[in-house]
Symmetry: C2
Subunit: 513 residues, 2 copies
């Protein structure tokens, strides 16, 4: 069958529930249900502090076939997933489903567990490194299920993703399970992605390398939700957890794109008092922030909020009074962690509050402008950030689809050509984010506006910005690179890309060896 | 039938679900379930801000028979319940169940709505004033259901108490439903009792007199849970919301009891580093705090936390470094509000985190010492704080039963005689809190220890404290007052007193006219 974007989906996918094709970005809204939660209530004097991860696994009655979850605030410095899987493997447990909010190169040991049958399923919003490659090569028994950040929260809350045991890497924790991310040697700041896991898993285990006296204030995840606490030597490598500072690009092409993007924002009419904004931690994204900052200062604009993974650069804008508040699901650098610890207006948010389409209103719904990246974008504005152009998984939506759907102006800002390949093509290898939610593409060669946004086209034309159709941009790119050859892939589905509402927006097929 | 305390319960109670007798304070723990929640997910650009309470009622499809809820952080200054019921009444709606965390004299208009059939059911943790009197006189169609603070959270989370529309009095709110209690002219501080309502009600409406630009940081209740926002002129009378300061008693009898209580605490061995403590806002309770403070200073003791409704006096102890943190479900005075706004270690907690027996561990479970009051206490240490000795409802458990069950040392500190009546009697008029969770009774005439606590008896004897049996205390009281006559009540049940686990610990019968 085909979904509404014309993507070919199998009628059924082995190892996956019934196929529900994507029907449009805003089709699923309305009456929804959050699942019931089973739990074991605590008795007085219940001791939560255990001696080892193994003991915690035993107390949680770990069994073949269970789903265990992890959050990715420690990013490529995370030790916790590897430690837990090592124990599970040595206990002889098989057929585990790993629901990690994201998977990084450091999680390479997962590849061996996939091969040995310890791990047979993976849910993640973003997968990079050897695990992504192994999935693409068909090494995982069941197809990986790729969510968006908000979609993962939705899946957990609705029961689509049912977690038996959540493991929460806790930079600071007390013996009764109160957790924060702002203190300790592995401080990573906001813990937004771990919140749905804690609230909805049947069991939750905190793994900490900074056990403090009760209570571990300020509490980000409460004792109400935590069954056990385990102290370990280290939950992660600080070098992989947060960077010292994130930096603006010095590349002239990146700067040109950023400058044009800021002009698009200005011309859109959104850059006025109450302005809200989100951008990533990449060099070009930060350059956009820098130009926006100049414009805000020049025009004396007082913004409402900046959101997202927060960087030191955005903190500076907040501290200069350009924004009223920061909404933070995850801190990207040490300056952001420090601000989250100290600034009252630096507000944490759960993944659900950030981007879940099935609550009473996520933060993305209030975004004016979102700056996005793309690996590929097609002539219908569908964006791929899941696979590379050879079909290999190298990322995933993260908050891409959530913010695109929520924001008033979703801008893809990217070079027109990367690694000798055109970014604009007829049909993307994988659709991550549907074109109906992308408003503008800004490249160094010109700007294309989604024809759905005639209002915007008029505004940008009036501002004399270099507008052209996306097909013209494609032609320019192809004139420099030639038309890329179509890749051939196996029929086997190795990953299912779920849109934020849980419908299938695309599938990823096995790489041909 | 009789429950385990020997209290006579009808086999069935008209207007109440199936009778489940109380079987012991810790019998219900183990596997439990939190209910599924139905909700309407927001679309982008969904406008939450409405023009009036009436419009909110219409948008929420208010209907005969619905259950609507309120929180009591505005206490005897609350305007919100009356405003909402007035609208409902004028819309001609009938048979409404009011689930208010507490009801105060200001809610007197409820009496008329009970008589006219607009309101036919009441759930509350505490009821005083004319509403309590009207219930006692049989004016409410169905029996009132009286919860504990933690038990109400449990009932809401489990589905025992299903809320159609929660009305949240919001001292500060933005147009997308983010709420805090620390700013605005009606600032009341922590909003802990409103949290379960917001999370589990099908619809939630914020009523605010301080609408601020988005976002209303620091956010205590998030936009994820709020459907609509209504701005009104005033949500309450600040004089009834918080007192300027709460003060230590000057009464010599109260001071004597407080001093003895502090000696009991000292002799118990609990007063050491890591000490945790809760007390009420009454003059004698604060005097206990003052003596405890002296002891902590003298012995250089660094406590873990103080909890509860927080007063300025407890804030001073925190600011002097005597406690690591404050757990606050509700601020009792302006100094507490200010501290909650500014001190990082002044930690908010929901009613569930505070006292729900059916989560993975409430704060009360970590309390060392709890200071309680009593209207009556019987020779089995069962305490009544629900009715006066003539059988009239004049209060309710609030956190009484929760803290008694959770704490290591639950002390009832009270005068032996009040209003010419003995406090210690053979059988209390109504059991609020079971004797098995009460450890000590301290009066100005002597101290009685629950025989279940032989360890404590030994310690207090060693400290030369004036210990006697509770029957001896009763005899002393009766020698001064005579034996009080047994009151006669009607058979009709006007209120069901649910223990924190939802079983019936007692019923309240109609006053005979």
């Amino acid at each position: 069958m085909k979904n509404i974007l014309g993507r070919e989906l199998p009628n059924s996918i082995s190892g996956y529930k019934a196929v529900k094709p994507f029907t449009g970005a805003f089709e699923s809204l309305g009456e929804v249900k959050k699942r019931a939660v089973k739990l074991q209530s605590a008795i007085s004097n219940h001791q939560k502090l255990l001696g080892s991860i193994k003991e915690a696994l035993e107390k949680c009655n770990i069994k073949d076939g269970m789903t265990i979850s992890f959050h990715h605030h420690l990013r490529n410095g995370d030790y916790v997933m590897n430690m837990v899987l090592k124990e599970i493997s040595s206990m002889g447990i098989k057929d585990i489903k790993v629901a990690a909010s994201s998977i990084f190169p450091i999680h390479e040991p997962l590849v061996e567990y996939m091969k040995s049958g310890v791990v047979t399923g993976i849910y993640a919003n973003y997968i990079s490194g050897l695990v992504a490659e192994a999935i693409s090569r068909g090494k995982l028994k069941n197809p990986a299920i790729m969510h968006t950040h908000g979609g993962r929260a939705r899946a957990i809350e609705s029961g689509d993703l049912s977690i038996d045991i959540a493991f929460i890497a806790a930079p600071t924790c007390d013996s009764y399970g109160n957790i924060n991310g702002v203190d300790g040697k592995s401080a990573c700041g906001a813990l937004g992605y771990a919140v749905p896991d804690a609230l909805y898993a049947e069991k939750a285990v905190a793994i900490t390398d900074n056990l403090v006296s009760y209570p571990a204030c300020p509490i980000e995840i409460s004792q109400e939700y935590v069954d056990y606490v385990v102290q370990v030597g280290s939950i992660g490598d600080i070098k992989g957890i947060v960077s010292g500072t994130t930096k603006i690009t010095k590349d002239p092409v990146g700067l040109k794109i950023a400058k044009m993007t800021s002009k698009v924002i200005e011309a859109s009419g959104l850059l006025k008092d109450g302005f809200s904004f989100q951008t990533g931690a990449g060099g070009t994204s930060l350059a956009v922030a820098a130009y926006v900052k100049e414009l805000m200062q020049k025009n004396n604009i007082k913004g409402s909020f900046a959101a997202g993974g927060i960087t030191g650069y955005i903190v500076e804008m907040y501290e200069e009074g350009l924004f009223n508040a920061l909404f933070d699901v995850q801190c990207f650098d040490l300056k952001a962690v420090e601000s989250y610890r100290n600034n009252k207006g630096h507000q944490g948010m759960s993944a659900s509050m950030y981007g879940n389409p099935h609550n009473k209103g996520a933060v993305v719904n209030n975004l004016d402008v979102m700056i996005l990246g793309a690996t590929e974008i097609d002539v219908d504005f569908n964006v791929n950030v899941t696979t590379s152009s050879n079909g290999m998984i190298m990322g995933g939506s993260g908050g891409h689809s959530d913010t695109a759907a929520g924001s008033k102006l979703a801008i893809v800002a990217t070079q027109l050509i990367k690694g000798r390949l055109p970014i604009v093509i007829d049909s993307v290898t994988t659709v991550t984010t549907p074109g109906e939610t992308i408003d503008v593409l800004v490249t160094e060669r010109g700007i294309a506006v989604n024809p759905l946004r005639q209002d915007l086209i008029e505004k940008l034309e009036k501002a004399n910005l270099p507008i052209m159709s996306i097909k013209e941009l494609k032609k320019i790119a192809e004139s420099m690179t030639g038309v890329p050859e179509k890749i051939e892939l196996d029929d086997k589905v190795v990953a299912v890309v779920e849109y934020r509402d849980g419908t299938i927006i695309d599938v990823v097929r096995k790489i041909k060896d």
